[in-house]
Symmetry: C2
Subunit: 187 residues, 2 copies
DNA sequence: CTTATTTAGTTCCATATAGAACTTGACATC
DNA sequence: GATGTCAAGTTCTATATGGAACTAAATAAG
């Protein structure tokens, strides 16, 4: 099998990084090396951070995502959280109900369209965010530690470019997708 | 609405990308922009791809991860899949049992240490991988479409650098972590 | 040669999760 | 001003999930 891909780096020095063979294979000889690196790094970020809020604040990942989302976009709606985070709306509904009962968020029904409810942090909710966000920032900083200032900027710009490129893509792959066609260059 | 864009990228042209306000905020005015971009891109990759294998092959995400992992690292062990994917070992155990019953994988007990079992794809399992992997490759290609050849290389190298930097990091954040200390430079 | 510790993998089971159906409201069409 | 369609959120419920306890094997310590 051929992995002709820019993302394949010649790094199979056999355990230089102290990783197991499978992780090494997934990183360096993977037909989808970009996707794996994304998922791997996301994992190395999410696991410790959300584990920590769970322990220290008793909030599940989805509950903290709600807090975080509102903190960044005061007055946003559940639908936006669903869309930006990928959590299904029913799970979010449950999370919001709990957070509201605990006095961390509140909702206001939109007068112009009464199906919509805008979400806000209470004082307690804001305080919680303020005292926890530093851990997330620290973890991110720690992960990016090895990059120089200009590399950091470049990485940020390139990821932004990929994000913008992805924005209009459809998330539907037809059932009848034919792998044979996949290799051909698309205009 | 305008977002003060003090962070890295100057791209707030106001909805050019057709995203909702919250997603925009999370992308461009986020204390952890790197982490969010990772998670966002991972989501935009995982959702369509694993949704597609579910529909077309009847395999759940974790089941396909097992197949994929073995395909990349023949003879690997369950522990390695757990470590490289983040799935708990009991869920993997269940997934492997199902895949074995369906004749897609088989296991061989290691003679030198009989706790270990090496994992292999059957002919059917390999065929399944071969006919599905193109969809994953296509999605990755599609996502990276906007990047030029040299940008792709740069991105690949920078992500690799971050991965290597993360490898030795601990995933434990002490319960008693003090955010006040977070800003200070750690030796 | 015990006895304790560690590791790989499995089983058990309480609970989290997410699909599907439902409710309510907006808005379009006739 | 009915009737149909679509969108936001909630509720219901069957199932997937993952923590904890367990088994079995290797290794270390006494």
């Amino acid at each position: 099998m051929q992995f002709a891909n820019d993302f394949v780096v010649n790094r199979r020095s056999g355990g230089v990084s102290g990783m197991d063979e499978m992780t090494e294979a997934k990183l360096w000889t993977n037909p989808c090396p970009f996707a794996f690196r994304l998922n791997y790094l996301a994992l190395r970020y999410n696991t410790p951070c959300y584990g920590w809020v769970q322990k220290t604040e008793g909030l599940s990942r989805i509950e903290y995502v709600v807090i975080y989302s509102i903190a960044l976009c005061e007055g946003g709606q559940a639908r936006d959280i669903a869309h930006s985070s990928g959590f299904p709306k029913n799970s979010l509904s449950r999370a919001m109900a709990k957070l509201e009962k605990e006095g961390l968020i509140y909702r206001e029904q939109d007068e112009s369209d009464r199906r919509n409810q805008s979400l806000y942090l209470t004082e307690n909710g804001r305080a919680l965010f303020d005292r926890t966000v530093a851990v997330f920032e620290m973890r991110e900083r720690e992960m990016l530690d090895g990059l120089k200032e200009d590399e950091l900027k470049t990485l940020s710009n390139l990821l932004a470019k990929v994000v913008l490129n992805c924005a209009p893509l459809s998330d539907e792959i037809p059932d009848s997708f034919n792998p044979q066609e996949a290799g051909k260059t698309e205009t």
